[in-house]
Homo-oligomer: 204 residues x 2
């Protein structure tokens, strides 16, 4: 099992955004759409051993579960439409306090980064990607890596503090500052090619 947690600081909380304007009125929703493609899709295939959680403005968590996903296309617009569908359910999630499924494998809950980190810390090895971390080439992947990344903006200081408190590893993947989705692609490639043994137990 591989997991990615992405903190989204500007992405829309409402489903009423324009699919034609993902980078604008949707608050850089395009960044999150590219993360979905990077995390789940290979050529004509879907990685089913992956979970991604987007923490939207520290108010809602949108979870994509690879083993349950049915239709994910690689283009940004179609993924944007999946975000619209799940955000439309945010009021139910807020009212009930529960997680709510919209389309297969995509859930929303009224949770915070703290909630997500607390559970992550119990089930796997939390890994913070940061410039001054261990070089990727010296990193021995754990069984159940949970990478924490930020969107197109940096982590806020309090986020870094919370993540650092639970992080088992600090990794630097590149001398260049990369896009979030590019970092996901590179981590997958590193795990695909470095004798990573797929975790086959119950991941929860």
């Amino acid at each position: 099992m591989r997991e990615f947690i992405v903190t989204a600081h500007t992405a829309a909380l409402s489903h009423r955004f324009e699919l034609n304007d993902l980078p604008g009125s949707a608050g850089r929703m395009d960044v999150l759409c590219r993360c979905v493609t990077a995390a789940f899709l290979t050529s004509h295939n879907l990685r089913d051993d992956v979970r991604v959680q987007f923490v939207l403005q520290n108010k809602f968590v949108v979870r994509f579960e690879g083993s349950e996903l049915k239709r994910v296309n690689p283009d940004e617009r179609s993924t944007g439409s999946l975000f619209q569908k799940v955000l439309e359910r945010r009021h139910i999630a807020e009212r009930t306090g529960d997680e709510f499924e919209s389309t297969p494998g995509i859930y929303i809950s009224a949770r915070t980064l703290d909630d997500v980190l607390e559970k992550a810390d119990r089930r796997g090895s939390v890994i913070l990607l940061r410039e001054d971390g261990t070089r990727l080439s010296e990193f021995k992947p754990p069984d159940h890596p949970i990478f924490v990344l930020s969107d197109h903006t940096s982590f806020e200081p309090e986020e870094t503090e919370r993540i650092t408190a639970v992080a088992d590893h600090h990794i630097s993947i590149s001398p260049r500052a990369l896009h979030t989705h590019q970092s996901i692609t590179i981590m997958h490639h590193y795990l695909d090619t470095n004798g990573y043994v797929r975790f086959v137990g119950n991941s929860e």
Copy 2:
């Protein structure tokens, strides 16, 4: 200098496609848009030492020149609009036989894969990405690598034949079949982190 040549088998030759339907009526133009983002963009920055050439249905070549590009955004829709602008000039390119610039750093010409490969072979090391190639980790990057990739479909047999005839290296980058843009991200990362010395001479 790093170069990428991408053979596009289905992408629209006309600018009259819908930006709302890049994967459909535009013939999987979304695939090419993602390649542009992967090739040129890092976080809030543009790689100026990169050239990408898309060979569209073996009839037109669209060239993106990193050192001249002005505005490239990471989202697919805005790159799709750059493709529209350059494809609108295809008749001029066809009529004159010359290369024609639309927006800064983006050119179109009525050329074929053979034309592109012939010039590439003279100025750098042509590298074919294929499943049975040398493992990436054993690959020592040349000064001026020119990677040849296919879009969402495989190379046609005659394309493989032409590329093999000029290829200096055959590389396998992953045990997984990846998207074209993901392969570009991974090649960049490999060159960024493996003591690659940027080519500083005249690259033409």
